[in-house]
């Protein structure tokens, strides 16, 4: 009951935001939602499948670049380019899984980082196709029956897609498949002994995760009307990582919250000082040392302590 109330309140706030907030904040909220989707997709891998990746930006960028290239170079309609971005990201996830799933732990981190750098290298180097460092400017926001060019309609498009995606990911984690995935995270050998195909479960987790990361990437490109190799950079992967951990891995809600907090802080601190990266670095260190289970973990500790006198 309390949870239903909380969820309705959150939905109401997001629906009412464009009427109450100045347009600058609607833009900021759009960005928060897009990163929340990106962080939740990474949480599927880290928090549920137990696969910490340093290459998640590759799926984000593959989605965004594929869509942008089709729009700008092939002059395809958004009806084709947008779904194609999602397909490309999902295929990217499958390829990464084929190459990286043999390894675990720090080797998995390194291989995903290396593979993501290959994608970044293509976007950065192949100037005639991707525009290299300059990226692809001048992308128009989509017309799906109605135009989503203005900030408010675009915000509602993003909010709807992110909300539906969150629901879908939540359903995945609650499904028998999601439970098996969590079993694998906790003890791979035990699940294998019980007859689960560990590889296939993890492969599917990476493909699903890449799909949602690709969706976030497409929305990101539409939001900025621009894409550059920065979207594929290891910094983007690292930002996803800190959003997941600072929020609380394995909770979906936590990483979304973490994304909102990091994006807000970036906006707030960047407008006051030039030392945002220094602050971000301190957030990484402080989170690791003092809040390894994130905001959600801190809250759980706090509320259980309160209940027990």
């Amino acid at each position: 009951m309390a949870r239903a109330l909380a969820i309705s309140a959150i939905v109401a706030v997001f629906l009412a935001a464009p009427f109450a907030a100045p347009s600058y904040y609607v833009g900021l909220l759009t960005k928060m939602l897009i990163y929340a989707l990106f962080a939740m997709s990474l949480d599927l891998m880290i928090g549920y499948a137990g696969l910490a990746s340093l290459g998640h930006a590759a799926f984000f960028g593959l989605g965004g670049y594929t869509m942008a290239l089709l729009l700008m170079r092939a002059h395809a309609s958004a009806w084709i380019a947008f779904p194609a971005g999602l397909v490309a990201a999902t295929l990217g996830g499958a390829v990464f899984a084929l190459l990286a799933l043999r390894a675990r732990g720090s080797y998995f981190l390194m291989i995903t980082l290396a593979l993501a750098q290959v994608v970044w290298g293509i976007a950065f180097g192949w100037r005639t196709l991707t525009g290299g460092d300059d990226g692809l400017p001048g992308i128009k926001r989509p017309v799906f029956l109605i135009s989503f060019a203005d900030q408010t309609p675009f915000y509602y498009l993003v909010a709807t897609l992110v909300g539906l995606s969150a629901l879908a990911m939540w359903a995945v984690t609650r499904s028998p498949y999601g439970l098996a995935l969590r079993g694998i995270r906790d003890s791979e050998t035990r699940m294998r002994a019980m007859g689960f195909n560990v590889w296939r479960h993890q492969f599917a987790a990476m493909a699903i995760s890449a799909f949602f990361a690709g969706l976030a990437g497409c929305l990101f490109v539409y939001n900025n009307r621009f894409v550059s190799p920065d979207a594929l950079h290891v910094v983007t992967s690292a930002e996803g990582l800190i959003m997941v951990i600072a929020g609380g891995a394995g909770t979906l809600f936590g990483p979304a919250l973490g994304a909102g907090v990091i994006i807000f802080l970036e906006d707030f601190i960047s407008s006051h000082t030039q030392r945002w990266l220094l602050v971000l670095g301190v957030i990484y260190v402080a989170t690791t040392l003092f809040a390894p289970r994130g905001i959600v973990g801190l809250w759980t500790d706090f509320s259980t302590r309160k209940r027990k006198p």
Partner: protein, 283 residues
């Protein structure tokens, strides 16, 4: 003759990459830590080196002071931060990423955003005649320095008592500890040596690659490519990997200018696919 020059360029870059990758490889071999701060050690080494040269005018002093300061930083990072998360790769990744951002921003704060090139030492500032083409002496000195460091590291690892302890630790840290080897001290020492070598690479590479915001990322990624190709935990792998990547980068830029980075990353992806432990790595 032009090919001799291209090859020498590749080899000198390879030697530099060896310096950067050797520490990264040793640190991973012993502690299983992916040190994402490694490129920052290079950047700090180059910046501190430039300041030392500017204030004292002594290149030799920079070559000693900058690596020592950075080595101390590496030791502090290991002792007071990374140690708490032994064999726990996610917090280690976050911590080293945090330090990467912090050091990068502090460098930007102190030394500004303009790229700098260190001056060449007066001793090797000239060019020599190489069959009609002039070639900078400094690059040849760099190759010699790389070979000297490789020889010294080999001697350290194979012929000294601490080297034997290090090899024991890489093979099996648990058993080494049980045999009475002070693995804890070894961890700090190896981290400091790794940071020292990367900063040395910063001073030595300063006149060629220089220092600029973002170089920390570029160097870190290059060093990772080298250790992935060569195999983690292996000095020989770092040397061979460094030379291979140095040459590939140089010839790649000549033959496929559009795909400059690609000529490095593709061999890496191929090696990862067929031999995930690298050329000289052990499973």
């Amino acid at each position: 003759m032009i090919w001799v020059i291209h090859t020498l360029n590749g080899v000198s870059l390879g030697m530099l990459l060896f310096l950067l990758a050797a520490g990264l490889s040793l640190i991973y071999g012993l502690m299983k830590i992916l040190n994402l701060t490694h490129g920052s050690y290079y950047l700090l080494g180059a910046y501190i080196g430039s300041t030392v040269i500017q204030t004292t005018g002594s290149w030799a002093l920079a070559l000693v002071v900058a690596p020592l300061i950075v080595a101390a930083l590496g030791a502090v990072m290991e002792r007071f931060f990374l140690r708490r998360f032994h064999l726990d790769e996610l917090p280690q990744t976050l911590l080293t990423f945090g330090f990467l951002f912090i050091i990068g921003d502090v460098c930007l704060w102190i030394w500004g955003g303009d790229p700098i090139l260190l001056p060449k030492p007066a001793l090797f500032a000239k060019s020599i005649d190489l069959g009609g083409l002039s070639y900078p002496e400094y690059r040849l000195a760099l190759i010699a320095a790389g070979l000297a460091v490789a020889a010294a590291l080999w001697w350290f690892q194979e012929r000294t008592r601490i080297g034997a302890m290090l090899r024991a630790g890489v093979d099996d840290a648990e058993t080494a500890r049980a045999m009475g080897i002070d693995v804890s001290l070894l961890f700090t020492l190896v981290f400091a040596v790794g940071a020292f070598l990367a900063a040395l690479g910063g001073v030595l590479g300063g006149p060629i690659i220089g220092a600029s915001p973002g170089a920390d990322f570029d160097v870190m990624l290059l060093a990772f490519v080298v250790v992935i190709v060569g195999g983690l935990g292996s000095l020989r792998g770092a040397l061979v990997g460094g030379l291979l990547i140095g040459l590939l980068d140089n010839f790649g830029k000549i033959f496929f200018p559009e795909f400059a980075l690609f000529t490095i990353f593709v061999p890496m992806a191929v090696i990862l696919s067929f031999r995930p432990t690298g050329l000289f790595g052990r499973a």
